[in-house]
């Protein structure tokens, strides 16, 4: 609980950032994001872009899983749909990139609605496994549809703004970061509206929500649609960033990665999805550094991949057992410590 925030009307109560401190820090954060590409080298820029894409997709999954309570293991497949849409539009028709990104989101959204249709009858883990089916069917389509380039995939020309090709990490950063920020902001605002509140009601108890007059099918489908729209746009950014799209780019493991990210970060929290995506993307990089330092003879690189897999699993388990509310809760605790200092909680 924050001290000294006596709210006197509903507008201040519902505000996204409710104190001056928060607004100041947010401005500082934005300034850092703007300054970042001018100081960071290529490797760190590459990581920042990757993190931003993952944040966008994880935020989408958080809408569906964290806020509506529908577990999905199809997020990677929806990203794939978005990425392929962007790739096909860009190579075949050369339409403007913003339109492509939007189209990627819409195609993924349609896919999401189709996958979501069984969600009224099928619940919980049955649904999670049905979404695995979706990701296999999507993989099959990517390989066999013909215009998707088969197993070799498609290579994507860079996005262009007024003749300027966004072909370096520095340039594409200015596309990826604003889009991600917009989407995160959109998600944060969503949960101040009727729709977002309905999602939360469905998560807490779907039958009760229906009794309260929330049409379950419509809202569940809406949640699927929004979540896969996010994934689609993230996939589109992914396509512009890596500039090659193959069926193997979006494996089931990537869906598990996103689910793990929102668990580690904290389900049902905007900050959680962001922290989780950052954390899960950075862990492999940190591991690579650590393994590089270890005084092991011979080829240490062969251990990197398996160690990464193990750490990935361990993180999921340890967080679920010891910190079920995730990094967002850790963050809140740290913040509370400083707010209340010198008193303890």
């Amino acid at each position: 609980m924050r001290i000294g925030t006596a709210r006197q009307d509903y507008i201040t109560d519902e505000a996204l950032f409710d104190t001056t401190t928060q607004r100041v820090w947010m401005a500082v954060f934005l300034a850092v994001l703007v300054a970042y590409p001018f100081v960071a080298n290529d490797y760190w820029l590459y990581l920042a872009c990757l993190v931003a894409i993952h944040v966008a997709s994880a935020t989408g999954l958080n809408i569906l899983t964290g806020y509506t309570g529908l577990v999905s293991l199809g997020q990677a497949a929806f990203m794939g749909l978005g990425a392929y849409t962007v790739a096909v539009l860009e190579t075949r028709y050369g339409t403007p990139f913003l339109f492509n990104l939007f189209a990627g989101g819409v195609v993924a959204m349609v896919g999401g609605i189709i996958v979501g249709v069984p969600s009224l009858r099928v619940k919980g883990l049955y649904l999670a496994i049905a979404t695995i089916a979706a990701s296999f069917i999507a993989h099959f389509l990517f390989v066999n549809l013909g215009f998707t380039g088969g197993t070799g995939g498609l290579s994507v020309p860079p996005a262009t703004v007024f003749g300027l090709a966004l072909d370096t990490s520095f340039r594409i950063y200015w596309l990826i970061m604003p889009v991600t920020i917009l989407m995160v902001l959109g998600a944060a605002n969503l949960f101040r509206t009727r729709v977002g509140r309905a999602f939360i009601a469905i998560r807490d108890r779907d039958i009760s929500a229906e009794v309260l007059g929330i049409p379950l099918l419509r809202y569940k489908l809406l949640s699927f649609a929004l979540s896969s729209f996010y994934a689609g746009v993230a996939g589109g950014l992914w396509a512009y960033f890596f500039r090659v799209v193959t069926p193997e780019s979006f494996p089931l493991l990537l869906s598990i990665f996103f689910l793990a990210a929102i668990i580690v970060g904290g389900m049902g929290s905007i900050l959680g999805a962001i922290l989780g995506a950052i954390f899960m993307t950075m862990v492999p990089e940190v591991l690579r550094l650590v393994v590089g330092w270890l005084p092991i003879e011979g080829d240490t690189l062969q251990y990197v991949a398996p160690v990464r897999t193990i750490v990935f699993g361990l993180l999921i388990i340890l967080f679920l057992i010891f910190e079920p509310h995730g990094l967002a809760e850790v963050w809140r605790r740290i913040r509370r410590f400083f707010h209340l200092w010198p008193f303890r909680t």
Binding site: V71, P118, R121, V122, K123, G124, L125, Y126, A128, I129, A130, I132, A133, F136, I137, F140, V143, N144, R205, I207, S208, V211, I256, L259, A260, I263, Y303, A305, P306, V307, R308, T309, I310, V311, F312, G313, L314, L315, I316, I317, L320, I321, P324
Partner: protein, 292 residues
Amino acid sequence: MDWLFFFEVVLAGIGGGALYALAGIAFVIIYKATRVVNLAIGEMLMMGAYFFLTFFAILELPLWAAVVLALVSGAALGGVIERLAIRPMLGEDPISVFMVTVGLGSIMVGLVEIIWTADQRRLPEFMPSEPIFLGEAFISSKVFYGFLIALALVILVVCIFRYWRGGVALRATASDQGAAYAMGINVPRVFSLAWVAAAALATVAGIVVGAIGGLSSSMGVFGLSVLVVVIVGGLDSVVGAMAAGLLIGVLEALAGAFLGGEYKLLTTFIVLVVVLMLRPYGLFGTREIERL
């Protein structure tokens, strides 16, 4: 239409399906007793196969000793998993527990890659290799013996469920945990028992699958088909696991033979979606009644 070929494919499918059924039963035991959806079933199976590889091919023990040791190690693994990762999650949201098993699967894949390397391994031949003929139809001997092993184990499990005290305790816990507690059943012990038994069954399935298809760190994919099998059959139904195992096995074999290998998983998953649309709780699953 070549009926003999068709018949052979169906037989091979039944053989493969029996293994699905066996692994599916391992899954169902865990689900019935502890309500945990164990996504790591494929990886448990893989660990079992690698234990067998170690004892049989690397340490060159006799077959019976290798099988027994692999079973014991597999069962011990199941017990350790239950104790360290599943027990602390008791009473948590099923989705969290599900994600714990996802993490477990990931850890096991990593362990296999570190200990046994990621290369494909083959088990030495240990089953008689003369092909079996059923009438005119040819069956690969491994598939045939795999089927026999699976069949024997399935019958054994069904009998245990029916007659042994532990099996009865397991069914009692499955139908009503609180009542089982009140009747003096040690429910945590039942949980351990379920994991140990399931891990031992998975080990056997892993040995046979490894003998047929070789070992690799991506063997866990087998677990995905098993997952489909149990969902189609109904998560808490032993009969369902058997029926759906055979069904999926045959369909997969038919799709592989007549459409091509890449259609195998696609077929399984389309069957899954269709079944879920028609019967959301699987073919034989109990429909949960929700109350507010």
